[in-house]
């Protein structure tokens, strides 16, 4: 059974699995780490890219549940 999570991911991941509304279908029981693989996030970047689920810092082993919001760090500039 699959579940849907909302993903905000930078341009260097594989966006093929993200639908136009920003959702990704993953298998029930998949973790953040599995999502990394699905998005083909380069392995070195998995170590330095901050990622949160529902705006809370989590370990990559954290299991995803339907409706989760997964957000990657993205610097904005200005000031």
């Amino acid at each position: 059974m699959s579940i849907r999570v909302k993903v905000y991911a930078p341009g260097f991941v594989n966006h093929d699995s993200i639908n136009p509304d920003g959702f990704v279908e993953v298998k029930e029981g998949d973790s953040v780490s599995d999502l990394y693989k699905k998005l083909k996030l380069p392995i070195p970047l998995r170590l330095v890219m901050a990622c949160s689920v529902n705006y809370e810092k989590v370990k990559s082993s954290r299991k995803l549940i339907d409706g989760d919001v997964v957000t990657f760090l993205f610097p904005i500039s200005g000031g």
């Binding site: 341009g11 330095v48 705006y55 200005g78």
Partner: protein, 662 residues
């Protein structure tokens, strides 16, 4: 009350007459407060062709509609006037504590016309307003004058002060207005307008409260946001040295996609805006060597000195602006760096670090700290000052400026000692400094045709420290906004984070897209830039911070807050129409004052003509003129001239707010 007071204070400095005026509800419903209210007053009351430094210009200090309500990150004040730098609409804004102080005096805005015969300051408290002599603080820097005026006016409550330094007094066209110990509303030459009126300061000591329709709903929205922001914490072990790598990754991205602005909050909380110091260099965002260099020129041996950790090690205190929960500001101990000349200083912002770092090929961080403090005290815009210094260095290297003309200063790239001496001369208007104190365009006009190719100003104003060759939509905003060269209006990156399309029916969903496509003018790109422009005007109408704006509409809930404050129950589309109305009124102001919008087009070098030969922006040229025309068309302005079309003016019902008395 609906968040606004419904009153403004009007001060004629020529006659010393002070009176209150009532502003009708429909004006707020059509234009909000802040920049919208400012545009309403200025468009209708400044005669066409008025001298920006003459008595007919009006200088306004305006609070945001949401300032003082239970909303968050809505504490910025706007200063509005006819700009002496661009000849058209001028505005600038700043955080700190001045915006709520305006409302605590019972007003949404305080406006000044005329010219005082002698230096004065305005004092306002609950009992009323008075003009008082400022002879004793005229000539003082902004920080010293603020300290003096605060001390002598403190009764129960500590007053809040907006003040000019020496740059504004000497009518430098790149001067701003300061508050809270050297923070500055820096752009558009607003300090020169205040100086021309011989108005040294505005001192506010009111204690009135601000009411709104539904404070519980407002608090509920704020609580949700505050909780999210509180959770964003940077792990302590992540060093600032990571940013060059992040920049390289970002600069090399072929694709872009909508992101979530919430996580960037943790960077702002930890470092402030200087988190972009080195990231910007390697990503292609930071302009280098007067917009002609790349990260090959300003390489690691230079930019590593701007590592944000090297700045925050001097930080002794973090601070928040009024109603802000991010707190990107900081106070640094600069006593050792400045050899005891100064003790504390605001942490330099990214814009200052870039303008006096890569733009002039400087790697001396101590010099940046020092220049930051003397500019804050003088009330001079660090973006325009850095852009003008870069212009001067290029002219010197090209032989247009000689050693005799620079009073003996050797203005070579990266010569920080010479740059410090030059900035001091600009503040004092001494020698070569007098030539440069009005910005690069004015200096280039005086130096002649050859110098103009080194002038990187946009419509007369030096562009912000972000390169449109990396983000072409930024180039549209630099060129098509009524205040040109401003980096805070919008960009492709900003738009992707706002998530406007999730609430506004006509705002396009960018989805995942090829970055190269941003160089091809299209209706979709124009709609993005128009939506971003409208949303920025709303942000400036409510007193919001740019960093709140780019959190996105699902976090920083402007529409919902304004509905709760006012009881209006407008839809996001209806609010965006207000944003369009404000922007159209600003554009009409420029048309009224003889500005040809196409004259704000990017200089060829910034547009990538010729394209760069190396670095992240290699080979990129922005078809800026075509993009400007499409932006105007998407706004409902004349595609060829940029003049708002009569049918749009009717559609926006602007006849209800245009009551031009001239």
């Amino acid at each position: 009350m609906k968040g606004y007071t419904g009153k403004i204070l009007f001060v004629n400095l020529s006659s010393s007459e002070i009176h209150e005026e009532t502003i009708l509800d429909h004006v707020y419903e059509m234009l909000l407060s802040g920049v919208g209210l400012g545009a309403y007053i200025l468009y209708n009351r400044i005669p066409a062709g008025a001298d920006p430094l003459g008595p007919d210009n009006i200088l306004g200090f305006v609070s945001g509609l949401l300032t003082g309500t239970p909303s968050l990150i809505t504490g910025r004040w706007m200063v509005v006037c006819k700009s002496p730098l661009t000849g058209g609409w001028g505005d600038s804004n700043c955080g700190g504590t001045f915006s709520p102080a305006i409302k605590q005096c019972g007003y949404d805005g305080i406006f000044f016309s005329g010219i005082s015969p002698d230096p004065v300051y305005l004092y306002v408290d609950d009992k009323g307003a008075q003009l008082r002599s400022a002879a004793h603080v005229w000539g003082q820097d902004a920080v010293s004058a603020e300290e003096t005026l605060t001390k002598e006016n403190q009764v129960k409550k500590k007053p809040v002060v907006a003040v000019i330094g020496q740059a504004g007094e000497k009518l430098s066209l790149i001067s701003g207005i300061c508050n809270d110990g050297g923070r500055i509303a820096a752009r558009s030459g607003v300090g020169a307008v205040m100086g021309s009126k011989r108005l040294k300061a505005v001192v506010l000591a009111g204690t009135l409260s601000v009411g709104c329709q539904d404070p519980q709903t407002m608090k509920s929205i704020s609580k949700e946001l505050a909780l999210k922001v509180k959770k964003q914490k940077m792990p302590g072990f992540v060093p600032g040295g990571i940013f060059p790598l992040m920049g390289k990754v970002m600069g090399g991205m072929k694709k872009a996609a909508p992101m979530d602005g919430m996580l960037s909050v943790l960077l702002l909380k930890h470092w402030g805006t200087i988190m972009n110091n080195t990231l910007g260099v390697t990503s292609g965002d930071t302009p280098l060597k007067n917009w002609d260099g790349s990260a090959r020129d300003y390489n690691g041996s230079y930019y590593r000195n701007l590592n944000p950790d090297l700045i925050t090690r001097y930080e002794t205190q973090k601070y928040h602006c009024y109603s802000c929960i991010i707190g990107c500001g900081g106070i640094c101990d600069v006593s050792k760096i400045t050899h005891g000349e100064f003790s504390n200083s605001h942490k330099p912002e990214y814009e200052t670090c870039a303008a006096f770092g890569g733009l002039i090929m400087n790697k001396d961080l101590d010099a940046i700290f020092y220049i930051n403090e003397i500019l804050n005290r003088a009330g001079m815009d660090s973006i325009s000052a850095g852009g003008t210094v870069a212009f001067a260095i290029e002219c010197y290297e090209r032989g247009i400026l000689t050693r005799e003309m620079t009073d003996g200063l050797e203005l070579n790239w990266g010569n920080s000692k010479a740059v410090i001496a030059l900035v001091k001369k600009m503040i004092a208007r001494e020698g070569i400094g007098d030539l440069l104190a009005d910005g690069s365009k004015a200096a280039a006009v005086k130096l002649g045709l050859e110098a103009r190719t080194s002038d990187m100003s946009v419509g007369g104003q030096e562009a912000g420290m972000h390169d449109p060759r990396m983000d072409p939509i930024l180039g549209i905003h630099y060129s098509a906004d009524p205040t040109p060269g401003r980096h805070t209006i919008g960009s492709g990156q900003y738009y992707d984070i706002t998530h406007l399309w999730e609430k506004v029916s006509w705002a396009p969903n960018p989805g995942s897209y090829e970055k190269a496509g941003e160089l091809i003018p299209s209706e979709k790109i124009s709609l993005k830039s128009v939506a971003n422009s409208c949303y920025k005007e709303l942000t400036d109408g409510v007193g919001g911070c740019m960093f709140a704006m780019v959190m996105g509409v699902n976090h920083w809930k402007l529409f919902e807050w304004v509905n709760a404050a006012t009881g209006w129950q407008k839809t996001p589309d209806e609010y965006m129409e207000i944003g369009k109305r404000i922007q159209t009124l600003r554009q009409l102001f420029n048309i009224k004052h003889g500005i040809e919008p196409i004259s704000f087009k990017l200089p060829p070098r910034i547009a990538g003509e010729p394209p760069q030969r190396e670095g992240p922006n290699k080979g990129r040229t922005i078809p800026i003129e075509k993009m400007m025309h499409l932006h105007w068309k998407a706004f409902g302005w004349d595609e060829k001239t940029g003049t708002p079309m009569p049918q749009l003016i009717r559609q926006l019902q602007m006849d209800q707010i245009i009551v031009d008395q001239n």
